[in-house]
């Protein structure tokens, strides 16, 4: 018997069936795995610095310009202050024993191995004190130098310690220092708009080689 036209159309469609998506799914699954492997799972940012200065050696008349430098040695940081009322002053911040803390553990419950590391918290505290003193309130640049074999990781962390203010002036240990938040202050732009910006310590960094 003749099949009605609407049922015939439906019959033709039913005969076609769903497209076979399994091969395409297989390719997609492989591609997704490859893309996940290639995906960068960490946050890559940039640190800006200025062109380095190179000392030509030799003495000279003491500069009237305030000059602040942090020198990274094998076992310590040395803060050198020149100019102003604190001519030729040096502050030494030695390495100290620190304990590795798990990211999820409280600082009081650090149970990782103990090792010797630079005292970045101590360096930050000294620089914060200097910034609060009347001589260095307006100074925003700092020179950073180091011994030839000091690793880039140490320099990067030194830059962190000199660049911006944190929520406290002093930290009791390395763990609380590492977990500190940057201090934010209100800044009013020329057009009157208020915004929250990170408070600077010495944001302009110049590498020096002695």
């Amino acid at each position: 018997m003749a099949i009605p036209s609407d049922r015939r159309h439906k019959t033709e469609l039913e005969e076609l069936g769903d497209p076979d998506l399994i091969p395409i799914m297989s390719i997609m699954c492989i591609l997704i795995v490859l893309l996940v492997v290639m995906l960068v799972m960490y946050d890559v940012k940039l640190q800006e610095i200025s062109l380095p200065k190179f000392s030509t050696g030799g003495g000279g008349a003491a500069s009237k310009v305030l000059n602040l430098a942090v020198l990274v040695g094998k076992d310590q940081h040395v803060i050198k202050i020149q100019g102003g009322g604190t001519e030729g002053k040096e502050v030494i911040v030695k390495k100290k024993k620190v304990r590795l803390c798990a990211a999820t553990a409280a600082c009081e419950d650090c149970s990782g191995p103990e090792y010797e590391d630079y005292d970045y918290a101590g360096l930050y505290a000294e620089l914060y004190k200097l910034k609060e003193s009347k001589d260095f309130t307006e100074v925003d640049s700092i020179n950073i130098g180091a011994d030839d074999n000091v690793r880039w990781q140490v320099i990067a962390r030194t830059i962190d310690a000199v660049r911006q203010k944190l929520d406290k002036p002093v930290f009791p240990d390395a763990c609380t220092y590492d977990r500190a938040f940057p201090l934010k202050v209100k800044r009013v732009a020329e057009d009157g708009k208020e915004s929250q910006v990170i408070a600077d310590l010495f944001p302009k960094i110049v590498f020096v080689m002695l």
Binding site: M28, M38, V40, D43, V44, L46, D148, N149, A156, D160
Partner: protein
């Protein structure tokens, strides 16, 4: 009679309702449809993967966009571990990228200078690199306190002077690249920015990266500018991360 019933899957044809299918009892209608499909050899519909296909397509596009949108596409591995920092400046396009890992200085994807690596005066091996990569998690390991020297061979220095700060092959390649970019920018009416992005392994010594910066700082064209801004790629850590 019994055979006929078997052919019709146990249903007596004489018991089927008469009249159009649409007027049948729903249960009888479903049975009739199932029998028709079975006769035509159609497989019953299984799991629908159309929705799954939609999801995987969306996930794939998301991963493709994530992977390609970052202008600073850095892959950490055996010979390259970025330093940690709290800096928060985002990467921008249109910079010259210099990568310095434990074995080479790479400019725009091309290795231009080899780096000599020694640990306690012995040549570095892949096993040493693997142990070094674990220093962050286990800083009390023996290798973490050893002296690692990463330096450019004196033959690659200006006038083969080991105390020179200029790395000749890097300077030549940077010079070529900068001139090309300046010409391109002039043709397009753009200003040459002279920004260098340095991707450094965390173990690179201060001396070596000062040599790289000094060499880059010497490149340029009189009156047109040169490389004057430097940015270092780091992995963001800290409470604000």
């Amino acid at each position: 009679m019994a055979n006929n019933e078997e052919k019709n899957n146990g249903v007596d044809i004489n018991q089927l309702p008469s009249g159009p299918v649409e007027e049948w009892d729903p249960e009888k209608k479903a049975q009739a449809l199932a029998r028709r499909k079975k006769r035509r050899g159609e497989k019953p519909l299984g799991l629908s993967i159309t929705s799954l296909m939609d999801i995987t397509t969306i996930i794939m596009f998301f991963l493709m966009m994530s992977g390609t949108s970052d202008p600073l596409n850095v892959t950490q591995g055996l010979k390259m571990q970025l330093a940690n920092s709290t800096a928060n400046v985002s990467a921008a396009d249109d910079t010259i990228t210099i990568l310095v890992d434990r074995t080479h200085i790479v400019l725009d994807g091309k290795a231009v200078v080899e780096i000599d690596c020694t640990i306690d005066k012995g040549q570095c091996t892949d096993a040493d690199f693997e142990k070094l990569n674990k220093c962050e998690a286990s800083p009390d390991d023996e290798i973490c306190s050893k002296e690692i020297r990463l330096e450019v061979n004196k033959q690659d220095k200006e006038k083969a002077d080991p105390n020179s700060l200029i790395i000749e092959p890097l300077r030549k390649e940077l010079d070529k690249l900068v001139k090309e970019q300046m010409t391109e920018n002039e043709a397009l009416g753009r200003k040459f920015k002279g920004v260098v992005t340095l991707i450094l392994d965390r173990n690179i010594p201060f001396r070596l990266f000062m040599e790289v910066i000094y060499t880059a700082g010497k490149v340029g064209v009189k009156g047109k500018g040169g490389l004057s801004q430097f940015r270092f790629a780091i992995v963001r850590v800290g409470a604000g991360a």
